[in-house]
Amino acid sequence: MTTGAFSRRTWAVLVFGLAAAVIVQMLVASGVGGESTAVAISDIGGILVIGMAAVVTIRTALAFGTGEPLRAQWLAIGVGIAVYVLGDIVWAYTEVVRGLDPPFPGLPDIFYVAMYVFLGWGIISAALAYKGLVRMKVPLISSAVITIASAAAIYVVLVKDIILDPSVAFLEKALTVFYPAGDTLLLLAPAVFIVLVVSQLGRGALGVPWRFVVAGVAVLAVADAVYQWLEWQGAYSTGHIIDLGWMIGYVLLAVGASVMRDLILPAPRG
């Protein structure tokens, strides 16, 4: 049985995805075509890169047979990425086509919030699938401790001041708290849990896809936290270097999906 090497598809997703993200960011940073062109490149480039990640992940899910638990797990993750792309499309339409500043909170936030539900559910159900095979108690306690520590740090550094700021409206406050809280509780906690679960597989190939997922989620969580802080400071604008974090985070999720697809072995003969 050979499970060690990545397929050409996986390498293509990794290399092309990262290269595309960096090229988009470099074009934006160069200011080519003026400010409105740079905004269009940033918005549409992000949609293309993250959209590619959604397609790769959903295709992976559909490569598993109907009724297979892996199909449901990866479909949830893929749909989570896809609804995030829908949010980005609405954002780009507002900014590029209508020439307006996307409101915060606004319509894209509905899709961005929905992403947490799908992605979180996919990762949690994947981690719980290992019940009966590996120890769950230690990963559960460890991820809870890490989550509480991260949540406390985010509260002190970011959330506390925003909650106390009287110039911030209620819905804006609620969403500003939800995003870092969602990153910590719905993405980072399940991600830490699953990486601790699959670490018990040692060098077992089944652990590899989830390591990419955890790396992706960690990048997304950092990008979100920095974005919230920049937004609060009024220092964020489309094309900021932090946009690269979202693109890379979702590309890493797609690479995880592709690595899982690599583990489908040919059907035995006869």
Binding site: M1, G4, F64, V134, G204, L263, I264, P266
Partner: protein, 76 residues
């Protein structure tokens, strides 16, 4: 010559690592009231059933079928 348990562990190991591979084999042996080293070719249906049950939620079905075929091949 490796025992059946050793053969099955070595087949499962690249996918699930040594600890889980060992768990799969020991769990089967335990359910049959045996130790892992006492497993014989006659115990293969129980081993296959346990591998399918334990790996079903975490591994592609086609991969599990391929592993089962390899396990069967190891006792021929």
């Amino acid at each position: 010559m490796p025992t059946l348990a050793e053969s099955v562990v070595s087949i499962l190991e690249p996918l699930v690592g040594p600890m889980v591979a060992d768990t799969c084999v020991r769990a089967t042996a335990l359910s049959l009231g045996k130790s892992a080293d006492d497993l014989l070719a006659d115990d293969m249906p129980a081993l296959e059933s346990n591998v399918k049950r334990l790996l079903g939620p975490i591994a592609p079905r086609q991969t599990i079928d391929s592993i089962i075929a390899e396990m069967e091949g190891s006792i021929r």
